[in-house]
Amino acid sequence: MTHSAAAGNGIGTAGVAVSARGLQVIRGKIPVLRGLDFEIPSGRITGLLGPSGSGKTTLMRAIVGVQVVSAGTVQVLGLAAGDPALRHRVGYVTQSASIYPDLSVEANVRYFGAMHKKKKADVAEAIAAVGLDQLARRKAADLSGGQLSRVSLACALVAHPRLLVVDEPTVGLDPVLRAELWERFRAMADSGTTLLVSSHVMEEASHCGTLLLLREGELLAQLTPAELSLRGRSQDLEKAFLAIIRESEQRVDALDGKVL
């Protein structure tokens, strides 16, 4: 496989954590991802941005290896996505908290930690990392929505993954918690973890090293936040994103005009 060789070399040198070639997902005859090509640099935060329904979650599932892929390849840390050896190295936090509501915070984290042979200290560390150490013995069902999603995050952090894929982590969080979470992600990236974080709120893009802009299953652009505001001719990333969407629509219209 030429791809795996390329990706394998990439990790040693340029530092590519994920690379996709012609990634296509068709669900019930409807194309959800239409042939994506991209690379995600390792040890950085990559933002996956786009309106809801643009295919963000499907793309994340394909990288984690739980999505049936119609065509193309995804390489993660030098292996095909979903490879058994990756189960120790890739963490996935779904949008809605996938935890056991009838267990305490600690029991939840302890259980998912046990799947990675993690000890008590790792469990306590993961709970502290999401700021829930005071609530560790509380039943998850008694917590607020924002706290629940932090429990879910702790269940992934406990494994110390090299690649952490997080789907819309800031939904339902107040501004203070949101800022803390991004700080947390930055600290993880600084210590070498690769993060892929999705959001439909464009203002969060500024926290990311690189951005993947997704729309209707197609990759509009891969760029840095600075490049985004430059290309979209606005300091406001939301406006810049809209400008890029309009630009791409005009391009499609122009192409259609030529064909006609």
Partner: protein, 251 residues
């Protein structure tokens, strides 16, 4: 297979149950109460000399039917929840082996089943004087095997249900025919050929046969072990089928 992950799963399932006092109460107390009802139902029957009480036959069979039905329901609902809340998908992205999950479930619920049948068997044996020649310990053993059968079938059926409502509907399909044909209502050799043939391959039939061996013989017979062996093989087969319904990748 990894013993630590299996034990962690069993511990987690039991911990979930422990927080649910009402369910634990229902699991432990209801069989004993229903057994009491059956006892008083036949309290005034007139028996010819030497004829066994109906309670000795029906009560004995109920001791193994309860754990089967209860564990089937509990397991299929718990597993369905695990599928719908996303915890199952999350688990399958971790290094856990499918067998660790399924056997962890099996272990946790068979501990519950053992407790349940200890209570029910003690009530039947000591309070209502259930007359069996063999040891009541063997009755508990067969009851636990039945519970594990319920767990295995529940795990399998939960794969075919999308809602908890559908999961409950599997009970009439999977459980009731076995109760009807196991020999509780009509002795199996008096059934017509078609029904007897069906009865011959249903797992519950083997446990009722095993119970009759325990009731009629002081020591464990070869046939008792044969029945128990067949039950165990069926349980294993159903668990393997259930493992095949757990997919790490989905559309």
């Amino acid at each position: 297979m990894d013993a630590a992950m299996l034990m962690a799963t069993a511990r987690r399932v039991l911990e979930q149950l422990r927080h649910d006092h009402r369910s634990v109460g229902l699991i432990l107390v209801v069989p004993a109460l229903l057994l009491t009802a059956v006892y008083f139902l036949y309290e005034n029957e007139t028996l010819l000399p030497g004829q066994p009480r109906t309670f000795d036959r029906v009560g004995l069979m109920m001791l193994v039917i309860f754990p089967f039905v209860v564990m089937f329901l509990v397991t299929s609902i718990t597993m369905l929840r695990e599928r719908t809340t996303g915890t199952l998908e999350r688990l399958l992205t971790t290094p856990v082996h499918k067998a660790d999950l399924l056997f962890g479930y099996g272990l946790a619920f068979s501990i519950m089943a053992a407790l349940q049948s200890l209570v029910a068997t003690a009530v039947a044996y000591w309070i209502f004087g259930l007359a069996i020649k063999g040891s009541p310990g063997y009755v508990v053993l067969i009851a636990v095997l039945n519970a594990v059968l319920g767990v295995a079938l529940g795990l399998l059926c939960s794969a075919f249900a999308r809602t908890e409502f559908q999961a409950v509907q599997f009970m009439p399909v999977v459980v009731v025919p076995q109760i009807l044909l196991c020999g509780l209502f009509v002795a199996r050799d008096r059934m017509n050929e078609v029904l007897e043939a069906i009865s011959n391959v249903l797992p519950l039939t083997f446990s009722v046969d095993a119970l009759q061996e325990i009731a009629g013989n002081e020591a464990a017979t070869e046939r008792l072990w044969q029945d128990a062996g067949i039950m165990a093989a069926i349980v294993l087969g159903v668990l393997v089928l259930a493992a095949m319904t757990l997919r790490r990748r989905s559309a």
